[in-house]
């Protein structure tokens, strides 16, 4: 235990703490830009400088460990002037207009500049060259707004193990981006948007679909249907300054109706559908393997997360046969809305316009995949991130916080709690187990409140084993089999797991992979900035939503039964195969 003095206050600190750690704990605000909690501390931007008694120069607090007896001042004229100089230099190079910038509401650069009391920029230097890159479906890059903090690089490389963006060139010509200043489409990028989620400025944002959606809403010839991903209900409130983890399902539905959507449906519905299809797919793989002694691709990997799917296509194509052929819930929904539902309301697929609200950039990419046209036209027409929906609600002048609660529309809006937890890392696995266990044994999953506690939470790699006991006759060949599962979030963790499987160090039957750390609650399209604390609050909220539902298991959803009865026939049947399953392609690794 160390004792240090910070702004005349004596406080305790632990060995290895940085000055910034201690200051934050003590409620002293030190502005930071290049620092990213748990990911990057490189002392590059020098915005976080403080005075340390005895040191000649100011110290970057994010990389300076405290030592016993250290005397620190975070608020002196020298410190304030130095921070202001750093900020003024950044702003003098910056090319962007806050009035029209899509980031102006939550821009860290702008906010810190205001906090530092900067009203004029004295330096008149060369400005960064602004090049706009809209080469991919999900990510817009604008170099002019980039302050070269490298947070995006750290995330893309260390957290996601992709490495699409790096500092290029040197000196004043330095840009942060793909190889040799090329466009993002020229290098492998999985479109996860984690770079956009951590960027402090408007330099990386989503490709906006807002205009497309407004146009569709005004187009009398279109029936506009909206689906909302499970994770959005636990985060949308943050766009309206509600605390993280506030559940706003009912308000969200009301807001969507007021925006003009004819029908408000739920991606949760198709999440339930995914569980039926993907669960049956797993069981059929197990049957072939255990009963038939056939060689089948195991473990089966989940396919809900399009960034992960693209990651496999680029970097581990040998595992493509292991990825479930099930479309993601977004795409299952699109296909059902433009066939089953369209038929019900007497419309053709081309008269329908399907919008999804997703916590995600990669869903924009997924919707544009050429495989996703099984209704005859593009199954999902537009994808809005949580942040974009927040903006549309504001544009429409809707006072979100005071809205009454409304309910989703029937049939494609009915869902179980098992669908809600798709938002959380571990959720798809738990939902699948709730159903598969009951199919195999005829009994409920034997855990308190149906939760598989070891698979929940923010840990990047989680594992569990369950011995299958008391099987019903049809599945008796599984009696005594120890089912091994793993739950992974963050692609860097996925890479470790894949390497372990490749080397034979680990074997599993079923592995859930989510591209973003913590699962969709931490998606690239969520309100910024998502810290672990925020992730945890959203996770907890989602479990509350699940526990509050009458229906907790996907196979209990009466509307799913109705869908099979009226339209699909049997799970894994011919119609399912055509509309709910898909194929993958190998992509160039470099």
């Amino acid at each position: 235990m160390l004792t240090i003095t910070i702004d005349s206050r004596q406080v305790h600190a632990d060995e290895g703490n940085t000055i910034l750690d201690v200051a934050r704990r003590e409620g002293i605000r030190i502005p930071t830009l290049c620092y990213l909690e748990g990911v990057q501390a490189i002392g590059a931007c020098r915005l976080c400088v403080v005075e340390v008694e005895g040191a000649k120069t100011l110290m970057a607090s994010c990389v300076t460990p405290v030592v016993d007896g250290m005397i620190i001042r975070t608020n002196t004229r020298r410190v304030r002037d130095a921070r202001r100089t750093v900020m003024e230099l950044l702003l003098s190079e910056h090319v962007g207009d806050c009035k029209t910038c899509s980031r102006s509401e939550d821009c860290e650069l702008r906010k810190i500049a205001a906090e530092l009391g900067i009203d004029t920029i004295e330096y008149q230097g060369a400005t960064t060259n602004s090049v706009i890159d809209m080469s991919t479906p999900g990510i817009l890059r604008d170099n002019g707004k980039c302050i070269k903090c490298r947070r995006c690089v750290a995330v893309c490389t260390q957290v996601q193990a992709v490495g699409a963006i790096f500092p290029q060139f040197r000196g004043f010509k330095t840009t942060i981006g793909p190889a040799f200043g090329k466009e993002l489409a020229d290098v492998p990028c999985v479109q996860c948007g984690q770079c956009a989620a951590v960027c402090p400025t408007g330099a990386i944002v989503e490709i906006s679909h807002i205009d497309k959606v407004w146009n569709a809403l005004e187009d009398k010839s279109k029936t506009v249907v909206v689906q909302t991903a499970p994770a959005v209900r636990a985060s949308l409130g943050e766009c309206f300054d509600l605390p993280p983890g506030t559940l706003v399902t009912g308000k969200m539905v009301t807001a969507l109706r007021r925006l003009g959507f004819a029908t408000v449906f739920d991606t949760n519905f198709s999440a339930d559908l995914t569980i039926i299809e993907e669960g049956m797919e797993l069981l059929s793989r197990l049957r072939k393997c255990v009963e038939g002694g056939e060689k089948v691709a195991l473990p089966q990997f989940t396919s809900c997360s399009p960034g992960w799917v693209k990651y496999v296509e680029y970097f581990y194509p040998e595992f493509i046969p292991n990825v479930s052929t099930c479309k993601s819930p977004q795409q299952m929904f699109g296909a059902m809305a433009k066939t089953y539902w369209a038929e019900k309301i007497g419309k053709r697929a081309e008269d329908m316009f399907v919008v999804s609200i997703m916590p995600c950039h990669a869903k924009k990419f997924e919707a544009e995949r050429p495989e996703m046209n099984d209704s005859g036209v593009q199954d999902v027409d537009a994808v809005l991130t949580t942040r974009e929906l927040g903006k549309m609600i504001k544009e429409a002048g809707i006072d979100f916080v005071s809205l009454p609660d409304e309910e989703m529309d029937r049939i494609l809006g009915v869902s179980s709690g098992a669908a809600d937890i798709f938002a959380n890392s571990g959720g798809v696995m738990e939902a699948a187990l709730r159903t598969a266990w009951e199919v195999i044994t005829g009994r409920e999953l034997p855990f308190e409140k149906l939760h598989v506690v070891t698979l929940a939470g923010l840990k990047g790699i989680k594992e569990a084993e369950v011995e299958i006991k008391g099987t019903v006759p049809e599945w008796s060949f599984l009696e005594g089999v120890v089912l091994k599962v793993a739950v992974v979030s963050g692609l860097g963790n996925a890479r470790s797991v894949l390497e372990n499987i490749k080397s034979g160090a680990k074997t599993y039957h079923f592995v859930e992979v989510m591209t973003c750390p913590g699962g969709c609650v931490g998606g690239g399209g969520q309100p910024r900035i998502t810290t672990d604390e925020v992730r945890q609050k959203r996770l907890d909220a989602i479990y509350r939503e699940d526990e509050g539902k009458q229906l907790r298991k996907s196979h209990d959803n009466p509307k799913i039964k109705q869908l099979y009865g009226e339209f699909l026939g049997a799970p894994l049947g011919q119609k399912s195969h055509h509309l709910l399953h898909t194929t993958y392609v190998q992509r160039e690794k470099v």
Binding site: T157, V162, G163, A164, I165, F166, P167, Q168, F169, R170, G177, P178, A179, F180, G181, V187, P188, K589, V590
Partner: protein
């Protein structure tokens, strides 16, 4: 095989390249697992091919398990790496402080004018590539320019044409070429 001269020629080029790629592979075998091996590999690869073509860089990425953007970041950071085919003679003018104040800039301008190319470009006849460099460690002899690995000291703008002409044909060119520059 030797029915037409043109065809034989192409075979030779292709064969040459595959020999070079084999050499690259051998280098990679040695360096893949070495930490900090990227820069030496890039240097050797540039030595083998004369520059760093895209397919060579991608091969390096694959073998060293690095992303193209990361490797490109390193290549574009150091001025001694080049991703375009270079001329027979690489002309480098020092822009270090000492050279700069003693007229390096004028020397560079004279070369640009004479060769009708900009920094980083190669003359259409494939003879000269022009680059600048930071320091050759010969500040006492400033301004300095190098042609391949031959140093020219105390260069004056007016002498530039003479120097370059020596390489256009003459002995110096052959000597520099013998010293291993492709």
């Amino acid at each position: 095989m030797n029915k037409s001269k043109g065809k034989a020629c192409m075979c030779e080029v292709a064969a040459n390249r595959s020999v070079l790629l084999k050499r690259l592979d051998a280098v990679l075998d040695e360096y893949v697992s070495k930490p900090g091996g990227l820069i030496p590999v890039l240097q050797i690869a540039q030595g083998i091919f004369g520059y760093l073509p895209e397919d060579v860089l991608k091969q390096i990425c694959l073998r060293m398990n690095k992303s193209y953007s990361e490797v490109a970041g390193v290549v574009s950071f150091y001025s001694f790496f080049s991703t375009t085919k270079r001329g027979r003679y690489l002309v480098r003018v020092c822009m270090g402080t000492a050279c700069y104040v003693r007229g390096g800039k004028q020397v560079l301008d004279a070369i640009k004018q004479h060769l009708k190319i900009d920094v980083g470009e190669t003359t259409p006849d494939g003879k000269f590539t022009l680059e600048t460099a930071r320091c050759f460690g010969a500040c006492g002899l400033a301004p300095v320019m190098m042609v391949n690995d031959v140093v020219h000291q105390r260069v004056k703008a007016a002498r530039v044409q003479d120097i370059l002409d020596q390489y256009r044909q003459g002995e110096k060119g052959k000597r520099a070429a013998r010293k291993g520059w492709k």
